[in-house]
Symmetry: C2
Subunit: 387 residues, 2 copies
DNA sequence: ACGCCGTCAGAAACCGCTTTCGATAAACAT
DNA sequence: ATGTTTATCGAAAGCGGTTTCTGACGGCGT
């Protein structure tokens, strides 16, 4: 047996299972068995080994273990940081926080891919995941247009993406019920008496952006309202985008009375511009957002919005990913968590008439305007391309 | 030579350096040398190996490499999550984001300690760092009172803490210039004509809380103002804490005209309460915060505050940590980044007199009231204990 | 021809831990 | 007494790399 007593890292000695083994007069295999709770070791031996483990303050080396077992007990995290939408984004930070909590009690640590060394920049998700030997992957803030998605969805690495409906043999996803949320927003506006409702979305590179648009459209239809493509603008999910969209909206000859922003940051930008131009909310324009970021409740007027349950999203995401990891058989189906409207102060109540008979108002028109999803998207893309 | 051709993890085969070696007709040692840029390998051999590496789509296994080299190219991150002050906190999320960017181009990934499995809960920082074999450590949101600090500061693991002046052979820190920031706040209030300035801080378990109090006290002294301990309250760095402190403050017989909150969230809580009670800001009370979180500029009135340069903090933290890692010799000294006042709308200008002759006002009193740091802290601790 | 040196490869010993599988001995059954 | 379990343990072969050290080989000076 080679002498394996100590190892050095920058002048520091680690205690290994060999140290324990020697001291206990057993083999390293036995120590390993004790440490991992295998049954085939004598009561007394076990006790002795455990005592010595304590005494020596032994800590397992996760790297060596990972090499031997091919499980690292880490979850890799890709957190795309484009345009403020990364770690900085209060939304993702929150879901990540609760994700971390539940994945943590399952014994996992999180590995954030940050490495952008020149030779690594263009490695795909899968390569980098395998490089670090992570047991699962969490994708946050990745765009639908990301070219690496296809590959990772087909790979055998358990992978959960949020805000992106990635499905595969070991890939699942978590989203809010964005379509429903958008419908709720429109319904609420309609209930408050609005019929002229505009939409500000993103550049359609995100799943939520897409779905909220769809929901908006469905909400309109459901309430018998006409879809007007000039009332659909691109806001890029940023404050500046929202501000800019609002600016453009004001140039329209025919103005809406309410604007549904597909994200709170955009709504904030829009409101800012409105105030700046001397309009008052909600008297001149009603605003409704989506997300319910913390800031929303602190604005004045406080923003009416659709709340995504961030804590629950993180928890459910973690649970789903753990299933993906531990139950290889079960075909994943994605999880969607519901949203809720939180009514605050940015929507003006136009008429007290809350009977849903509004649906049969004069605005009802089944026009030639195409209303199916893809057509809607077409319109929008064209529209945003104009710019 | 044993047959080492492939490895399986859940049904997937990895290509190893042995595969490359065989294909290239060389030994694994040579492949390793090529991959690591050692000079003692022939031009042609190198080319051949590189070609095959490409062809086979080989990706190095960081775990195996880590075991062999004792360097993992990961930075461990402890992110304490007490009372909203963790990942959820917009402040830390921001510095972390820019930290990640620069540490990333140096080739490192980030390892977030999340593992809270029952047998792991009470392991110290050092144990967990060694367990994962991280090359360095970043401590965020850790309290001064944390019992594990002492140990990690003495250890040989490069460790950088933010908002906490931890120093040791391989331990350094990064803080904002909190004392100066607080003085700036007080100076500004004084310049605006205020002389009755209160302070709301945290429970003094944090370094910034402590330093801002010191700065407040120094600012007072510098401007010849009397330190009144009843005007120093505990706000816990949370919104609720700020609200509660404000509530208590209003019960005072003798009210200040301006309140300096040591954190924006507390200021927000305080303002909320004030509005609720029918006061108007800044007419009735002037408010100044500390941090400049994104929300601050969106409030109305927009919060005047001391800005911490979060991006710069992250960058500098990363640089400092990289030095700690790569230059074992250099004794660390900590880095402090400056702050700036951003004047917005929550401070009322009482008199236009901006001559600093205010310093010689009637309020000047070198009273028996002890003014050195520790005494100040005493007062506060006592005060918060009352509660 | 001889010794020396620089270049290039590879054998082999790790790194610290897991896991299979066979050995041993005691306990049990026949 | 003999064959069979059962409980307990350890040797050894990995996991996928790195790194030292030895050696082969060709060229070169003398």
């Amino acid at each position: 047996m080679p002498s394996r007593e100590t190892c050095w890292k920058k002048g520091f000695s680690l205690t290994t299972i060999y140290d324990i083994a020697k001291r206990a007069g057993v083999s390293s295999a036995t120590v390993s068995k004790v440490l991992n709770g295998y049954p085939d070791v004598n009561r007394e031996t076990r006790a002795r080994v455990e005592a010595i483990t304590q005494e020596l303050g032994y800590k397992q080396n996760a790297v060596a273990r990972g090499l031997a077992t091919k499980r690292s007990m880490t979850i890799g995290v890709f957190f795309r940081d484009h345009a403020n939408s990364g770690l900085r984004h209060p939304f993702f930070a929150d879901v990540l926080a609760s994700f971390k909590d539940v994945i943590g009690v399952a014994g996992y640590d999180l590995l954030f891919f940050a490495n952008n060394a020149p030779d690594n920049v263009h490695s795909g998700y899968e390569d980098r995941a395998r490089h670090r030997n992570v047991d699962g992957l969490l994708l946050l803030g990745v765009w639908r247009t990301d070219p690496g998605l296809e590959a990772i969805s087909r790979s055998s690495i358990p992978c959960l993406s949020v805000d992106l409906d990635l499905l595969g043999p070991r890939a699942s996803y978590l989203v809010s019920d964005n379509v429903d949320g958008a419908k709720k927003a429109v319904d609420y506006l309609v209930q408050c008496g609005h019929t002229r409702i505009a939409f500000v979305g993103d550049r359609f590179s995100t799943k939520p952006g897409h779905d909220r648009l769809v929901g908006y459209q469905q909400g309109l239809e459901h309430n018998g309202l006409l879809f007007r493509h000039e009332w659909v603008l691109d806001g890029d999910f940023t404050e500046e985008g929202g501000r800019f969209a609002m600016e453009r909206m004001l140039e329209l000859p025919d103005l809406p009375t309410a604007i549904f922003f597909a994200g709170d940051m955009m709504a904030i930008g829009g409101m800012e511009l409105l105030k700046q131009r001397g309009y008052v909310i909600p008297e001149d324009f009603s605003i409704i957002g989506f997300d319910d970021i913390v800031m929303s409740s602190h604005l004045s007027p406080a923003l009416t919005t659709i709340r995504q349950k961030r804590g629950e999203m993180g928890t459910r995401a973690a649970q789903e990913l753990l299933e993906l990891i531990h139950k290889p058989g079960k075909p994943p189906s994605g999880v969607v968590v519901d949203v809720e409207l939180v009514a605050r102060e940015t929507v003006r109540i136009v008429c007290a008439d809350s009977s849903s008979s509004l649906a049969s108002s004069d605005f009802f028109e089944k026009s030639g305007q195409a209303c199916d999803v893809d057509a809607v998207e077409q319109v929008c893309v064209t529209h945003s391309a104009e710019e």
